[in-house]
């Protein structure tokens, strides 16, 4: 009798242990759907529409003629390491007319089309936030006027505090490599800065794009906003969600 009880107890415990492995629970709930990502592009005479002309760009260069203006030159050249140093100033304005102020900026990109003519090297470029406004000017690719933005001046004969542009020294983009293969180059911009351009348009002075290490040789050419192939012109792409 006692043996039987022990045996029974053993069987019961065994069964309990074996059978207690409950069935797999029901599948969890489906996750939330992603939000619609609104996209707004800005490109001179292209986006948001063919009448958009609030994009501005120019190269500035310290090649011995640092007051020359190239505001209407269709090529944006980024030179460093030998014949001088050049940088680009760019600005996309009127953003607040197309994007509501209360949105969440998810991503923003500056897209530049071109390549590096120097075959033995590849250069990184980055964008920096300008802290002073500037006037684009009408100089052609020979630097035909000297009364607007240049290496030395932000407007007229008004000098930058620092020749080459007054900008915050911490980049507001990733560093993007430009090699000799001509293609689109996409700089991912700091979304807080882009949000400021929408919320406080009066302090949107645009950006400087420069070779990250200007001691290295590079000869980059990008299409400017006057370039005949519309899709090659500098483009700002902003992705946002609505609260």
């Amino acid at each position: 009798m006692k043996k039987n009880i022990i045996l029974l107890f053993a069987i019961l415990t065994g069964m309990f242990l074996l059978s207690c492995k409950g069935e797999t629970g029901p599948a969890g709930a489906t996750g939330e759907d992603g939000k619609p990502l609104y996209v707004q592009m800005f490109q001179y005479n292209v986006y948001p529409g063919s009448t958009y002309q609030n994009a501005y760009d120019s190269l500035i260069i310290n090649d011995g003629y640092p007051t020359r203006n190239y505001g209407r030159c269709d090529i944006l050249a980024l030179v460093s390491g030998y014949i001088g140093t050049s940088r680009l100033v760019l600005k996309f304005g009127n953003l607040d007319n197309f994007i509501p102020a209360n949105v969440t900026i998810k991503d923003a990109y500056l897209v530049l089309y071109g390549g590096n003519l120097v075959t033995f090297t590849a250069s990184n470029i980055s964008a920096y936030k300008l802290t002073r406004n500037w006037t684009e000017g009408t100089g052609d690719c020979s630097g035909s006027e000297t009364t607007n933005v240049s290496w030395n001046n932000y407007s007229g004969s008004n000098l930058w505090t620092n020749p080459g542009g007054d900008f915050e020294t911490t980049p507001i983009s990733d560093a993007v490599k430009v090699n000799t293969y001509v293609s689109y180059h996409t700089l991912k911009l700091n979304t807080t800065v882009v949000k400021d351009w929408i919320q406080s348009p009066s302090t949107n002075y645009g950006i400087v794009v420069k070779v990250t290490d200007e001691t290295k040789a590079s000869f980059i050419q990008f299409a400017g906003k006057e370039f005949s192939t519309l899709s090659w012109r500098p483009k700002l792409v902003i992705y946002y969600t609505i609260p």
């Binding site: 939330e32 948001p48 519309l230």
Partner: protein, 237 residues
């Protein structure tokens, strides 16, 4: 003793049932990715400045050397009227090169065409898109040639025989028709624009020796909203 055994026998199933409770509910799935939508339509989307759509149609038989690249419609099927008696196929290309290197991962793509006419009006027709694999020139391509002086390898257009979208059964005109296009093809148009030769739309009625075709408005149509449209749905990577 017997009573005890019966009791135990009764108890066992009870324990078994009670001890087998179901596991916990699984975790909630991950939140879906935020997705963006862009449309492409000549003169309209993404803006009025976009002109990257090219199209024409090819007609076999009597018109095998005729180009239909500037006409505001295209025919798909078989056209039999007067001296005409040939297969008709439409070529359509969207240039998406301006999106290259911009972190775009295509999830879904649709091409929307406006079917304005069926001939005869009672006909039914099934249209399927295929990928073209040879360059063609909109204002030069014919049934025989991809561009002036260059023949297709196979008259009627060189294409990969695996469809790149759903076949659409059409039994009614005067409405938009939506083709769902393989996202990987559209991704290729963005990543490798040099390999984007567009699509060819072919119908099941082209081999029937009767006048049976569907007419669609082309990118040259004066009514902008009738022009072929590509809609892409994508996430950023």
């Amino acid at each position: 003793m017997k009573d005890k055994l019966s009791f135990v026998l009764l108890l066992l199933p009870l324990i078994f049932v009670l001890s087998c409770s179901q596991g916990d509910v699984g975790p909630t799935g991950p939140t879906g990715e935020d997705a963006a939508v862009l449309q492409f339509q000549s003169g309209n989307y993404p803006s009025d400045a976009y002109t990257g759509v090219t199209d024409c149609y090819l007609e076999g038989g009597w018109a095998a050397d005729t180009n239909y690249g500037t006409i505001d419609y295209f025919f798909i099927g078989r056209y039999k009227s007067g001296m005409h008696n040939g297969k008709e196929r439409a070529l359509l290309k969207f240039d998406l090169s301006e999106l290259q290197n911009q972190h775009i991962k295509i999830k879904k793509a649709d091409i929307i065409l406006y079917c304005y006419m069926l001939s005869p009006s009672s006909t039914t027709i099934t249209v399927t898109p295929y990928e073209i694999n040879k360059y063609w020139e909109e204002t030069e391509a014919t049934w025989n040639s991809s561009e002036t002086g260059t023949n297709w390898n196979t008259a009627g257009g060189d294409y990969s025989t695996t469809p790149v979208g759903n076949s659409l059964y059409i039994d009614k005109s005067g409405e938009y028709k939506i083709f769902s296009i393989n996202p990987s093809i559209v991704q290729k148009w963005i990543d490798n624009p040099q390999n984007n030769f567009g699509l060819i739309f072919i119908s099941d009625t082209e081999n029937i020796n009767e006048d049976r075709w569907a007419g669609f408005y082309s990118t040259d149509n004066s009514t902008v909203s009738y022009r072929p449209k590509l809609v892409i749905y994508y996430t950023l990577n």
